[in-house]
Each structure stands twice: as C-alpha cells, then as structure tokens.
Amino acid sequence: MRRHSADTVAAALRDLDPAPSTELTQAERDRADAAFARIVATPCDEPVPEVRGRPHRRRSRLLVAAGLAGSVGVATPVLLLGGGSAYGSWTPTPVPLTDVVAARAATTCRAALDVPDRGERVAVAERRGGWTYVLLAGPRTEAICLMPDDLVGQDPTDRRESFGSYDMDPAAPPTLDPDRIDENTNMQGNTDEGWFLWVEGYVGSDVTGVTVHTSSGLDIEASVSGNRFAAWWPSSKQSSDHPAETWSYTVHLADGSTRRTR
C-alpha cells in the first residue's frame, strides 16, 4: 500500500487539473469579446432567465453536522432503521411549537447559520422527540435547522450540535393546483446520532395534511403550515447494503379525501 503526503496529494491533484492555468487563445479571446458585446447590448433590467428557476425537486445543503456534545433527552425509543438507537426520541407525529418557542428556534437557527434576519417568517416549526425543526422562508433567504431541543434559545456558537442549510437565492413559490404538493428539497445528513433525511415543500390550498411513506416502512406525519410542509426521519447511510431510500406521499384534502402521490 502506498501512502502519500498531503502535499503530494495536493500537487498531484493540481497536475490532474483538466483546466490548468493558461492564457486565452486569440480565438477564445475573440469569442469572449463577442460575448461581452452581446451581453452589454441586452437590457440590464430584465428578469434573469431560468438561472434562478425552480427545479421540481432540488436538494439542499448540509451545513453543520458537528459532534453532539451534550446528551439529548430520550423519551420513547422507537424501532429505527437497521435496529439502531439513533434519534431514539424521534416520533412520526410532530408537535407544533408555540409562537414563542418557534421564534426562539428561529433566532438560534439564524445564529447557527450566520444568516442575517431579512424578515423571514417561520414557515414550519415542529418538535419530534428531543429534536426541534424550523423552516424560515422569505423572498431572499430560506433556512432550515434541525437542533436538539435544549439548544433552542441558546447561543449556538457555544455548542456545535445544530445543523441545517440555507439558500440565499430561493426560487419563488410554485403555483399549485389546490390538491397538489410540490417537494422543494430533500436532504440526507448525519450527526453523531446517526443519519437522517428531511423533505420540505409546498402544498396547495386544499391540502390539510401530508403523510410520508418511506421505503424503510415508516409512515410519517408531516407538519403542514400555510403553504408549506416538512418532515424528517432517521435514516441510514447510503451504501451497497443500504441503497438510496425512497418515499411517497399521501395527501389529505379538505373534503376528507386522500390522494396518493409518488
């Protein structure tokens, strides 16, 4: 077995750069100049096309997943994937947070992610066992945090166990038929408690509830608040033994009917 030093690895990587440092050829320079001329000839106050457009499903970003220093209160252990004890207090049914607690969770989330307060509203705030989830939504920023309950209201710079993601360029909410939902992001991440998956998205005006059915056999009641839904659940690291987990939804409508969706 050969072992390489960090410096050698870095040097080898740079050697393998498919776009090494170089000057533009004359032809490339000509094309660059032509592109510049075309660009500045366009109006600069038109909406930007599609770059900020909405994918139907886009995945979010693991932001912080540091070690869990403190103990998390474990309530009712449930059988989790693989028989592990990860997120032992997790519950398939969420408990909504009060406005006061939700605001505190939002403050902690912003601080943990170092995201300025741009007037985002708390779109979803829930608790599952010992874990608090908050989704902040605004036209300029969306942020999601999952944190131990005992971190809510605390200074996250002192404790490193929160994790989440944010998008400083969120797409506009989709226009949905009343009985439809649209999954906006899904993400897999991990902490010392284990792996998890979360999903969130938008709901139509007639949607009163969303249930997530996972390929691992969980039925999870999502939080539905306003035009958003969100849920998370303990998962397993993707591997040859644990291929990508899949899930589907049951959408509950105001007239009492349900609709199954992939």
Partner: protein, 190 residues
C-alpha cells in the same frame, strides 16, 4: 447588495472590470465540471446574469469571482436533466498521462497521480466539489462557502471529511481493493 452603479457608462465599465478579471477563472471553473465544448456557453449565461444583477455582484473582485462561481454552479445544476439532479456538481480530473509526460517527475508524484485518478470517481460529487473548490479553483474557505451557500465553518467540515474520504479511497485503491463509490451525503432524487 454590495454596490450600486448609476450611469449606463459606469455600469458597463464596472461589468467590464468584472468580466476581464474573472473570465478566465470562470471558464476554468466551468471546464472542470462540463464538457469543454459547452464551457463558453455556460460562461456566457453566467456573465449575462452578472450583467443583469450587477448591483448584487460584490465589489471586491475576489469575492465577485466566488459569486460568479456560485451562479455557474447553480446554472449547471439547473441545466441538468431532472433524473440526474443532485446538490453537488461533480468535478472531473484530467486523464493520467503516462510515458513521456511523466518524464522528470518524482516517482511518488507520478504514483500519487495514478492513485488519485483511480480514487477520484469513487468520491461523492460533494466530496469532489469541496476538494476542487479548495485545491483547483483556489478559493478560500469563505469564498468556497459562498459558492456552495453554506457557512465557512461548514465548508471546512465538509472539506476535512472529503480529504479523509479521498485518503481512504486512495489507500483502498493502492491496496488493490477498490471500493464501490457511494456518495456519503448525496442521494438520487426520486
């Protein structure tokens, strides 16, 4: 918003400054991630965004470069087929050149290149991206974090993990037992 440009002439001059300062680096950034024949088109799209959102482009040229990289990354994500959509944008490496191209290079470096070339495809797109932003694109942690839309702390964590994974994969490769590549924190959209 870091600066606001008033007159059309000032606006065009500011865009010219950004364009000239960042074009080559942006082209290289894109070429690492798409087929070279598509790279200039992507750069054109990104620069069009910069022109139309010039007031959002950071005044500092280094920060502006990172901002452009972030737009490019999002452009590449959005132009993918839906089935292929993942958060990370995978990065390719050059083919390993053998024979005369290695003449004069230290044998350890040559061996390391071969090992990395074999291990690289086994990394997740997220790991490739973190390493490439740091080593190939030459970004600082705050700049790379801005490209990915995460905090510098989170990027450092991600980079540290990616480097560990690369080392592990390289060692596996050199031990003659290549591992199947399974992205750690990536999964295919349904």
């Amino acid at each position: 918003m870091d600066s606001t440009t008033s007159s059309p002439r000032e606006r065009e001059q500011r865009f010219r400054d950004v364009y000239d300062a960042a074009y080559v680096d942006l082209l290289r950034f894109v070429r690492r991630r798409v087929h070279p024949t598509h790279a200039e088109d992507v750069v054109g799209e990104v620069m069009l965004v910069a022109w139309r959102r010039l007031d959002d482009v950071p005044a500092d040229l280094s920060a502006a470069r990172a901002w452009l990289f972030g737009v490019a990354r999002k452009t590449l994500q959005n132009t993918r087929r839906r089935e292929d959509r993942t958060d990370a944008v995978a990065v390719r490496l050059a083919e390993v050149l053998r024979g005369s191209a290695d003449t004069g290079h230290h044998p350890d470096l040559v061996a390391c290149r071969v090992d990395i070339a074999a291990a690289w495809p086994l990394l997740s797109g997220s790991d490739q991206e973190a390493i490439a932003l740091s080593v190939l694109d030459g970004l600082t942690a705050p700049e790379a974090a801005a490209v990915l839309g995460i905090s510098p702390t989170a990027f450092r964590l991600r980079l540290s993990r990616a480097r560990r994974t690369l080392r592990r994969q390289v060692n596996s490769v050199t031990a003659g037992a290549p591992l199947p590549g399974h992205p750690a924190s990536e999964r295919s959209p349904r």
